[in-house]
Assembly symmetry: C2
Homo-oligomer: 81 residues x 2
DNA sequence: TGCTTTGATACGCGATTGCGTATTAACTTG
DNA sequence: CAAGTTAATACGCAATCGCGTATCAAAGCA
């Protein structure tokens, strides 16, 4: 299951999905990142003005990371093999 | 060549690399995204407080997108095959 | 040697962030 | 049912965004 992330909304949805999959509350995730629960709430809601750092911190706290791919798949992951 | 993006700095470096690979100036990329050249400059410098939307817009303007992967590679792209 | 292009940086501005703290609605559960 | 949990939302605050506009050094080129 590869999740594409093309927008703040998709990023928020993904963070929420990953958080729930790991049985974490917003408060617990927030604690790991040293941010407030309210910040997680906004991040998950897809707030476009959320700071980039918050997203990366959340992904790191969830054991995830992002990889860049070309939109048409013409390059990028090809090079893995 | 798989580019991992784990931080604002990596994101900035990647945007710059992709932009230059496409022979674009900061001004041209900025025009495509309807932001100022100065905003691109800050994005590429790795400013952590840059808005998420700016990053996604830049990637879209460059024909790129992000895919989520687990940090240990235990899941995610495995599912592609 | 100029002239242009590129990218970093600045000022004032309005908007919005995340913070600390707190409240509240919707659930869950004993 | 009462108590607790979870997540959305709010207020005042300091900080910083991106905007419009602009400047300037470095580099490229005529």
């Amino acid at each position: 299951m590869v999740d594409l992330v093309r927008s703040p909304r998709m990023a928020g949805a993904l963070v929420r999905k990953a958080r729930l999959a790991q049985d974490l509350t917003q408060k617990e995730l927030a604690a790991r990142m040293n941010v407030r629960q309210a910040t997680i709430s906004k991040l998950e809601s897809g707030e476009p003005a959320t700071r980039m750092a918050v997203l990366f911190d959340a992904l790191a706290a969830l054991g995830l990371e992002l990889a860049v791919t070309a939109r048409d798949g013409k390059s990028g992951f090809q090079d893995m093999f």
